[in-house]
């Protein structure tokens, strides 16, 4: 039997979904049922915190249903908004939240979450993760130490410490929140929550002319609100500056990053501009694992 605080801490899980599935509520009930007013308030707060990139609120361990419904409502609003930036912001928020709440979790429960998220993970001294699942989930963690080529490998598995296993599961949480759900048109109470959110400025009007296809795809990713690894941010910023974008224009691009912090981003962009770092070549960016293939000119797509 799954404990209540497990469900409150991990409202994204299939286990949690089971708890509310029985009630089979319609989107109207979710929007208007007075019993769910707390969940709606929590959903609004979830999204506000995601947009402001601030810390999550402590889960109410005694009321898992409200946690679960609030995440469901938040996801419905994201889906209805058709806004990829908002989707990425919520995913980032939930992934960070998972890192916090799972800090003291038992190994047994971590494995349970892994299986719930479809990650093949076993505990044999260290955490063993299927190499294909590992490659799928680690793609946003582009630090060299996360690349499979630099990791301990044993018979089709990648070996991880407990904290690394949690970090990988946080990526699986992100993946789940990013996945699409079927949603009818948003009822007015949900539209109101959506409109109340203070979303970052959208338009970057600068022309993409003269950028490498590789850099253009990084720019597109960040504008969709995806969380880019450090090397990708460096590559993007240095290429944009070299293409004649102003520091403010580059900063506006980075505002779309789900973990944007103005002070840090401004400092880093200024450093790149001041020190005049040369933008990395296509070859270099390929070796960092950025933009697979886009650097090359596509030939007729056939092999011998």
């Amino acid at each position: 039997m799954t404990s209540l605080d497990f469900l409150a801490k991990y409202p994204f899980s299939e286990e949690a979904k089971k708890l509310v599935e029985r009630e089979n509520l319609s989107i109207e009930e979710l929007a208007y049922d007075p019993l769910l007013s707390k969940a709606r308030k929590m959903a609004k707060e979830r999204l506000e915190r995601a947009v402001l990139r601030s810390a999550f609120s402590q889960p109410d361990l005694l009321d898992p249903a409200s946690e679960i419904y609030s995440l469901i409502i938040a996801r419905i609003i994201v889906e209805g908004s058709k806004d990829e930036i908002l989707r990425n912001l919520l995913a980032e928020h939930e992934s960070k939240r998972f890192m916090q709440v799972s800090r003291d979790e038992s190994d047994e429960n971590l494995l349970k979450i892994a299986s719930d998220l479809g990650v093949r993970m076993e505990l044999k001294g260290e955490f063993h993760v299927n190499i294909i699942d590992y490659m799928r989930l680690s793609k946003r963690l582009r630090d060299p130490r996360w690349r499979a080529v630099n990791r301990k490998i044993e018979g089709g598995n990648v070996l991880l410490s407990r904290d690394e296993a949690r970090r990988l599961l946080a990526e699986a949480v992100r993946e789940r929140i990013l996945s699409k759900i079927e949603v009818p048109e948003l009822p007015p109470p949900f539209m109101d929550i959506l409109k109340s959110l203070n979303m970052p400025k959208k338009a970057v009007k600068k022309s993409k002319k003269g950028l490498l296809p590789c850099v253009e795809s990084l720019l597109d990713s960040i504008m969709r609100g995806e969380n880019l690894p450090h090397v990708a941010r460096f590559a993007l910023a240095s290429h944009l500056l070299a293409a004649g974008w102003s520091k403010e224009e580059v900063l506006d691009v980075f505002r779309h990053s789900p973990d944007f912090k103005e002070k840090i981003a401004r400092y880093q962009i200024e450093q790149i501009a001041k020190k005049g770092y040369r933008p990395p070549s296509c070859r270099k960016m390929m070796s960092w694992g950025l933009c697979p293939g886009e650097c090359r000119v596509r030939k007729v797509a056939k092999a011998d």
Binding site: M135, G156, G289, A301, D304
Partner: protein
């Protein structure tokens, strides 16, 4: 016999001897594919690695992609020991064995690089296939049943992963797998910490173990037995010591990379790829593309096992130098320009399809 697993989900493309390309073709059954091919007799026949609900649709988004096989392409062309053997000036027909940027005879820069196909090239490609299979088995935990090896009909091999959980992978994951096979992104600095370099144990799996084994042997070759022992036992090595001897680590990386398989990465991450239909003839050799078992891979000789044409005699006029070669246990050549020779069709086809001769009636 022409064969294509899940034939009804694949897109086909054919190139005829008339140089016409026929694309976006699909077949409901193997029988209809076979009778079509018997009818049009294509010079090249390709099918998609992608499996689609409606493979005949022109736009990707209308096809309904269900998954795609992961394909590794190993081609001896460009690998050490199997390069070009003839350089030909398209302006004045001057030819020579060594590379030329401009023709010494007429000064033109229209130089055609030409290659031949022989047992040595096949052996070089085969060695790469074996490295790849080793990595797929040891690091990815794949079983023999999960992997399919085939000869391309030219200078290389294809290796495919059939395991179900690989079919759904996206482009990024495929690029990561391809990079892993080539040990791309390996970085020994991840072993460095404030306590010094803590290298992996030599019995570790993956590239870490391969690196440490290479490192230990290089340390020993250079008389640094004590350090080699420390690495073996997992003891940290002082940072300043290693930093002053960076060449040791660099050398270990290049020795480690000798175990990496030389694949064409662009093929592996392309889910829209078209690839040669097994058991069809290759239009540059007249040899048959064919599926191999592991036992067959070691012994496989395309000039005995993949002959796709008959022995009926054909007259060929030699246009460009042809080296000595053997097919079907018989030795042919070398031939000089303007010679006219009568050969079995399979040997004549090799010369004609590689643009070194033309048939005479």
């Amino acid at each position: 016999m022409i064969f294509a697993p899940e034939v009804e989900k694949r897109e086909f493309m054919f190139m005829g001897f008339d140089d016409v390309v026929r694309r976006y073709i699909s077949f409901k059954s193997l029988d209809s594919l076979r009778s079509y091919m018997a009818d049009i007799v294509p010079r090249h026949a390709y099918y998609s690695v992608g499996l689609y609900r409606r493979p005949e649709m022109r736009k990707m988004e209308q096809r309904g992609l269900e998954g795609a096989e992961i394909l590794f392409d190993i081609d001896a062309t460009g690998l050490k020991g199997c390069s070009y053997d003839l350089y030909f000036c398209e302006n004045c027909s001057h030819e020579q064995d060594s590379e030329m940027a401009v023709c010494p005879s007429c000064g033109s820069d229209k130089i055609k690089k030409m290659d031949w196909i022989d047992e040595r090239c096949i052996a070089i490609a085969r060695a790469e296939v074996k490295k790849l299979l080793k990595i797929l088995r040891e690091d990815f935990g794949l079983k023999d049943d999960d992997i399919l090896v085939s000869y391309t009909g030219n200078r290389g091999f294809h290796v495919r992963i059939l395991a179900k959980d690989f079919l759904k992978l996206g482009k990024e994951e495929r690029a990561e797998i391809a990079g892993y096979i080539g040990a791309k992104g390996f970085d020994y600095e991840v072993f460095s910490s404030s306590g010094g370099y803590r290298f992996p144990k030599p019995d570790e799996g993956g590239w870490r173990g391969r690196f440490s084994r290479a490192l230990i042997s290089i340390l020993r070759e250079n008389g640094m037995e004590e350090i080699a022992k420390d690495v073996e036992q997992g003891k940290p090595i002082e940072r300043s010591f290693m930093r002053k001897r960076r060449w040791i680590m660099e050398k270990a990386v290049s020795r480690m990379r000798e175990e990496a398989a030389n694949i064409d990465e662009a093929v592996t991450f392309d889910i829209q790829r078209l690839t040669r239909v097994p058991n069809s003839l290759h239009g540059k050799t007249g040899l048959r593309a064919m599926t191999l078992t592991y036992g067959e891979l070691d012994e496989f000789n395309p000039f005995l096992d993949a002959i796709g044409l008959s022995a009926s005699p054909m007259k060929v006029r030699i246009l460009r130098k042809v080296p000595k070669f053997s097919v079907n246990g018989l030795s042919f050549g070398p031939y000089k320009r303007d010679e006219v020779v009568e050969l079995p069709a399979y040997a004549a086809a090799l010369i004609v399809l590689r643009e070194r001769g033309k048939t005479e009636i």
